[in-house]
Symmetry: C2
Subunit: 397 residues, 2 copies
């Protein structure tokens, strides 16, 4: 249960127990006795630990024969590990500060010493080979220190378990979605041609944190993407100090975040009078997203959903190369995507209740684009939308 204050452990212990059991079952299936978890989202999923400490070395250790995971991290963050998680004192194992970005001491050596002490066996260690914070250096030093151990790539092992959300998780994602709606509402209200881009970004961030009267928000994995005018052709550029200007689209992609869960949203706000060609582009996006959303239900594949989108926009003579969407849930920088299923023609993942996606159609015409997106969760019979802002081009004359 999420508490009213956004404080304390966000889930009941029984939910963490179920998650750990699922992970151990998958370890068993793959013949892994020890799993080393570096991806912050996966650490949070299993323990509730969410401090911003992944910029220094940290690892969660799950062993087949140990009841609890073991947190390895920096001394100054151990106090957060104790407060945020259910872990017993013996499962919080910090290293001293002389290991931090230091030439004298190596945190991987600390990890290896801890593994030898706490793990009954070290036959096959699963590691997240492609995870953002599992560097080439860590892997090289770890494998050299444990030459008798077999290393197995367990990247995305937990991410694929995370793909189906529990009712408690969906409740939090609904809260994140309400913040997303409020951000778009504020941005639409505030946007004016003589406003600097950075001042619109300030309004977006303010609402992202202030949230609602009932609950606030926290930082997201990524900045808002706020691209105006011809810059709307750049999906990931930072904003500038320029005035937004008249007769220009403002593409805004952002998300509310609640207890590390995201429900992203994008809308295009057009300041002035859009040309007919641009309106037609927006119509195609709306027709495409409505068609694709109508396809969503348990049993269809990601590819089926994407095909519905391509078929709809093909009627307007359009095609989109980039994928149509991705799974969402817990996020830490640098992305709120879960990196599992994608809505694309080659992905045959079958939709099932509890799976959550950000469907993100966007189309470009020369230098300018339109994006109108929808976060949703798959239900027993179809889908539930996580944001409720109307799916249409927003025009502010």
């Amino acid at each position: 249960m999420t508490s009213a204050t956004g404080d304390g452990i966000p889930f009941e212990k029984a939910e963490f127990d179920r998650r750990l059991a699922s992970v151990k079952q998958e370890m068993e299936r793959r013949g892994i006795d020890t799993l080393l978890i570096s991806e912050p989202s996966n650490v949070y999923y299993l323990t509730g630990y969410e401090a911003w400490s992944f910029y220094v070395f940290q690892m969660l250790v799950v062993h087949r024969d140990l009841k609890d995971p073991v947190w390895i991290g920096r001394m100054m963050d151990a106090v957060s590990a104790r407060r945020m998680t259910y872990l017993p004192e013996d499962s919080v194992r910090p290293y001293t500060d002389d290991y931090v970005q230091s030439a004298e001491r190596e945190p991987v050596d600390f990890l290896v010493a801890q593994l030898r002490e706490i793990c009954p066996t070290l036959d096959a260690i699963g590691v997240e080979m492609g995870a953002y914070y599992y560097s080439a250096h860590i892997h090289a030093r770890l494998t050299a220190a444990l030459p008798q151990t077999r290393f197995v790539n367990a990247e995305l092992l937990i991410n694929w378990i995370r793909i189906r959300k529990s009712p408690a998780e969906i409740a939090i994602m609904r809260e994140a979605g309400k913040i997303s709606d409020a951000i778009i509402t504020d941005a639409v209200e505030a946007a004016r041609p003589d406003m600097r881009e950075c001042d619109l970004a300030a309004i977006v961030y303010h609402r992202m944190m202030a949230g609602t009267p009932d609950y606030g928000g926290v930082y997201t994995t990524s900045p808002p993407f706020l691209c105006t005018g011809t810059r709307s052709a750049e999906p990931h550029a930072p904003w500038s100090d320029r005035k937004i200007g008249n007769d220009a689209p403002v593409n805004l992609e952002t998300s509310g975040c609640r207890r590390r869960y995201h429900s992203p949203i994008s809308r295009t706000i057009f300041l002035g009078t859009p040309p007919d060609s641009y309106r037609r582009l927006a119509d195609a996006v709306v027709e495409g997203i409505e068609t694709a959303l109508a396809e969503v239900r348990p049993g269809v594949t990601c590819a089926d959903v994407e095909r519905a989108w391509q078929t709809a926009i093909a009627r307007h003579g359009l095609h989109k190369e980039a994928r149509l969407g991705y799974t969402i849930g817990i996020g830490f920088p640098p992305t709120w995507g879960e990196r599992t299923a994608s809505l694309r023609s080659s992905d045959t993942t079958v939709l099932a209740p509890g799976m959550a996606f950000h469907m993100m159609p966007g189309l470009w015409l020369g230098d300018v684009g339109v994006t109108i997106t929808q976060s949703f969760v798959v239900t027993e019979t179809g889908r539930e939308d996580l944001t409720s802002y109307p799916r249409q081009l927003v025009v502010k004359p």
Copy 2:
């Protein structure tokens, strides 16, 4: 030169040329013909590329015999690479979207094909082994694909070149520092016991982006750290929705960011009347930071500066285990630290003009702490402070 709009290439071409020449000189010294750069700060340093695209595979290639670096990244971000950098069209080499988080195609294979095409030699490739976005997977796949090539750890090669800032860089850091000062001013003005923590975070973020009337800010590498009451013992926990409460310290660590350059600042705001023991703790921090700052000048070592701090606080019967500070400059998530020199007893780096540090003294007494920090750049004769907010405990009765 930074432009007034925070737009376009932030440095003159001659400055990029000097940077590239320094990197090639160091490659030569180490016998590296090809350098693969994954750290976003280092890519930005050499090219000006700053889009938020490092969550998918990207790499900058510097070859000894090639005039320009080559950008490898995702198709949708190539438009940013063309606009933000001086790179010629042939040096922007994007891969299609079916390489993104996909089981069918592997972006490392795309990189290898590009290396074979563009690099006259591939005898010794330098890679950033411990960089955040150089994963174990990338390294394993790359070394397997190029068995004739020698791989050399070139982590921090560019970071150590970055340690001395040019006048143009220092000018930008002064702008970042002015935003830092404005954030603290706003936070002190707004903080009240009956305010939710998230609403104070909203005010911090608003000023971070709105910046000053002359120029705005952009997103920082890290969220503000805003820890109140007994939570002030946790340096990296997120804020909650709780009311801040009376007779409690608010520890705020944050930074303004201008053109990816940071000048961080921390202050403690005490709401109510601090106990005498707490005031004495704050006095010790102030005496310690003033003593350590007075030590800063070219020729002294990082260890000398830290020793001055420890000597000063030892007079109050105190000792601090964690390092006293670290180098700053360009930052991308997850940290604004440059990961080179640290102000700690074991670091014998000699201070030189242009080096910039965030000195971050903090002391804890049981559950509560005080932090009062200072970003500065070393000058020919001493130091220049990058923020000007008074170095003292802020008390709001």
